[in-house]
């Protein structure tokens, strides 16, 4: 990383300092994590090209929190989540679960660890086997991990289904008989029945109607409190992330642009990319047309990971740094610019945010 002298895990060290007691200990950490994929066959790229999707990411998720990963498509948020669970093998760096390097575990240990880290997928239609009943779907993870006997498993399944608001009668039905929201409840039950410590929620409500989104968010909140869970919540919807997460990391082209507590990030974003992203979110309030007229349009298209800028990845689109020598030439390190507020920017805070922020629109 271009952070000479910075501690190897800035986010984690930030957590360690201050607010002792209030903050949970780091439970899941990325330490200078990188992931590259080899792409071949595209005549424009030559025969084989390594494409860096995650570039030197360091962050720590604390016990009991909802940690948000936000960014646009292609920013690497889903790849990061998969590396954190070791569903993908990182190309560089380490993933620590309760301080234990996942790469050092043998197969059995990793398997045991996996039980404690679960994944809820975006698409409740694609992630459920259409031939299995809801009950069998929820029981499957218990069978895979050889937990309990038939009787105990059945009891656990029924309890879990009840927890997510499904009835014993519905346990006999197959996925096609359920609505989108109900299928996502089954997906949640499957992940939670193992009583994990950490759950990664990859766009868990994006495929659902707004009225159903609210139900699922409420359910996730309740289960988190009830079971003392830690969430990593991946979302492209910033309004949902702001509502749901305690801390949020903003990703762009596989790098962390900004990492802060919810209030800090959404009220006083330091990085021009965060500002652009936040101002682009349409708010369901009166006066949207005039709000939109006032905000700065992001420039151009997201750069390609194949053709990644040398300096700051956001420089070609940045209203603040576009064309500036330092931004073009030097990648800004992720630095704690204010207490508990990290940003990778040469000119943090230079771009102010204009948001509705719930205040009544002008003229009311």
């Amino acid at each position: 990383m271009s952070t000479p002298g910075a501690s190897p895990n800035p986010a984690a060290s930030a957590l360690a300092g201050g607010e002792a007691g209030a903050a949970g200990a780091p439970v899941l950490e990325a330490d200078r994590l990188s992931k590259a994929f080899e792409i071949r066959g595209d005549e424009r790229l030559g025969r084989k090209v390594d494409v860096t999707v995650l570039d030197d990411i360091s962050l720590a998720v604390r016990k009991g929190e909802s940690f948000g990963l936000v960014g646009e498509s292609g920013c690497g948020k889903s790849t990061l989540a998969r590396c954190l669970l070791r569903l993908l093998t990182p190309s560089g760096g380490r993933v620590l679960f309760e301080g234990q390097d996942l790469a050092e575990l043998d197969r059995d240990e990793l398997r045991a660890m996996r039980r404690r880290m679960q994944f809820v997928f975006q698409d409740p239609f694609a992630s459920l086997d259409p031939r299995m009943t809801a009950g069998a779907l929820v029981e499957e993870p218990l069978l895979v991990h050889q937990i309990g006997d038939g009787e105990q498993r059945r009891a656990a399944v029924m309890e879990m289904l009840a927890d997510v608001g499904l009835t014993a009668e519905q346990a006999e039905r197959r996925p096609h008989a359920f609505s989108g929201g109900q299928r996502q409840r089954i997906g949640i039950a499957r992940a939670f029945v193992l009583r994990p410590d950490v759950v990664i929620l990859d766009e868990p409500i994006s495929a659902l109607d707004v009225s159903v989104q609210a139900q699922v968010l409420n359910l996730l909140r309740r289960l988190q409190t009830q079971l003392g869970l830690t969430y990593v919540f991946i979302s492209h919807d910033l309004a949902v992330a702001e509502y749901f997460c305690d801390r949020v990391a903003v990703l762009y082209l596989g790098q962390v642009m900004e990492l802060a507590d919810r209030e800090l990030l959404f009220r006083k974003p330091l990085h021009p990319y965060s500002v652009s992203l936040l101002s682009a979110v349409p708010v369901p309030q009166a006066g949207g047309r005039s709000r939109r007229a006032q905000r700065a349009q992001p420039i151009g298209e997201i750069s390609s990971v194949v053709d990644r800028p040398k300096g700051c990845p956001f420089e070609p689109r940045c209203p603040v740094g576009r064309g500036r020598e330092i931004c073009k030439g030097e990648r800004p390190p992720l630095v704690e610019h204010a207490a508990r507020h990290w940003a990778a920017c040469h000119f943090p805070g230079e771009m102010a945010i204009a948001r509705a922020n719930g205040s009544p629109p002008a003229g009311e």
Partner: protein, 381 residues
């Protein structure tokens, strides 16, 4: 959107279910605008409207079941008007769009109503005559731009095709120049060169902009955009909305924006129709919905959007229950079984609400709720 003159244009939810025949609806249609004296829209004024829809009803018949997807919907749009149609999946938004365009296919069927495009009645036209209008006077943009683009043809070939379809006399060189011009208009960099690229060489946002370029190739007077930004990232989304802005301002196009996202409606539209179970349950200027959502469904829809300001209020106020089965609609108000106001009210259970015109601080609205007059005085967001 013009509200007056539509009032009374539809009965309650039940009217299109039972005996509403084509004849019956046409008769009512002839009477309505004139009878709404003063408030109404005289027939002559209809030609000033970019689009005028009256009593449109569409069903899907599947053996024993008849699904009432669009139920007696009426509205008018001026040139340059931006109407947002919001609702959950299955509320009939897309069926409405396809009905207007004459694109409903069996087992679906438009069973009644009239559609006036620039004063011309188009709902009874042949497929061939409609084909000459679609893409020229009225165009459609869909959520997934790949559905409008052929992956094995260059972008240029497809844009040229869209131009040539309605300009058979145009020479190839001229069509290509026009295609490049269109791409420039939708902010594709180096348009002449990129005409020869294939769709997969464009990003998602660029593909959607090309789909819009094709839709506006012949400067339609009405553009229907069905969830045009749902598949896009927020920064790309605002580029697409800016593009639609320019379309409205430069060509006077009227835009129907179909979306489930109330934020996008606020950002782009000047009027809104909230759709539930195939009907417009609340129609108004756009700010009204956010300040005084009068139909209980509109209010519920607005309140279940996560709002960080209400973090401390506990769980999100989700809407209980499910939308009704459109083949077995409740006898009374379609929202009654889920309605926090009307759930226990016999009138709501028995009687479909008529459209009520109400006026609040943020302007007039037409609301299909028995309690509309009372609620406009009370409701506050």
């Amino acid at each position: 959107m013009r509200l007056r003159g539509i009032i009374g244009g539809g009965g309650g939810g039940g009217s299109s279910r039972g005996g509403a025949t084509d004849v019956g609806q046409r008769r009512r249609e002839q009477v309505e605008p004139g009878r709404a004296a003063g408030n109404g829209l005289p027939d002559a004024a209809r030609s000033d409207m970019a689009l005028s829809v009256r009593n449109l009803s569409t069903v899907f018949e599947d053996g024993q079941r008849t699904v009432h997807a669009v139920r007696d919907v009426s509205f008018d749009m001026r040139p340059t008007e931006r109407l947002g149609v919001v609702g959950e999946s299955g509320s009939g938004k897309s069926a409405l769009a396809l009905s207007i365009l004459g694109l409903i296919e069996p087992p679906g069927r438009v069973v009644g109503g009239e559609i006036h495009l620039g004063g011309r009645e188009i709902s009874k036209l042949s497929d061939r005559a409609l084909g000459a209008i679609r893409g020229k006077d009225i165009a459609l943009v869909l959520q997934d731009p790949m559905s409008a683009l052929d992956p094995v043809k260059t972008i240029g070939a497809q844009v040229i095709e869209a131009i040539a379809a309605h300009n058979p006399e145009m020479r190839r060189g001229a069509a290509r120049r026009r295609a490049a011009e269109l791409l420039r208009e939708v902010d594709i960099p180096q348009p002449e060169r990129r005409l020869d690229d294939y769709p997969h060489q464009y990003s998602g946002g660029m593909r959607q902009r090309v789909a819009i370029a094709m839709a506006i190739a012949n400067n339609p007077s009405v553009l229907i955009a069905d969830e045009p930004t749902t598949a896009l990232d927020v920064t790309t989304q605002s580029q697409v909305l800016a593009l639609l802005d320019r379309l409205v301002e430069q060509h006077g196009t009227a835009v129907i924006l179909i979306t489930h996202n109330l934020g996008i409606v606020s950002d782009f539209c000047d009027s809104i129709a909230v759709m539930y179970a195939g009907r417009f349950v609340e129609t108004s200027g756009v700010d009204h919905i956010f300040l005084e959502p009068t139909h209980p469904y509109s209010e519920a829809l607005l309140k279940c959007v996560p709002n960080p300001e209400r973090l401390a209020d506990g769980p999100l106020p989700a809407i209980s229950g499910f939308p009704p089965d459109l083949a077995q609609l409740p006898q009374g108000c379609a929202f009654q079984p889920r309605c926090p106001v009307g759930r226990e009210i016999p009138e709501c259970r028995r009687q479909p609400p008529r459209p009520h015109e109400v006026r609040g601080a943020a302007g007039a609205a037409i609301v299909e709720c028995h309690f509309a007059e009372q609620r406009i005085k009370e409701v506050k967001v």
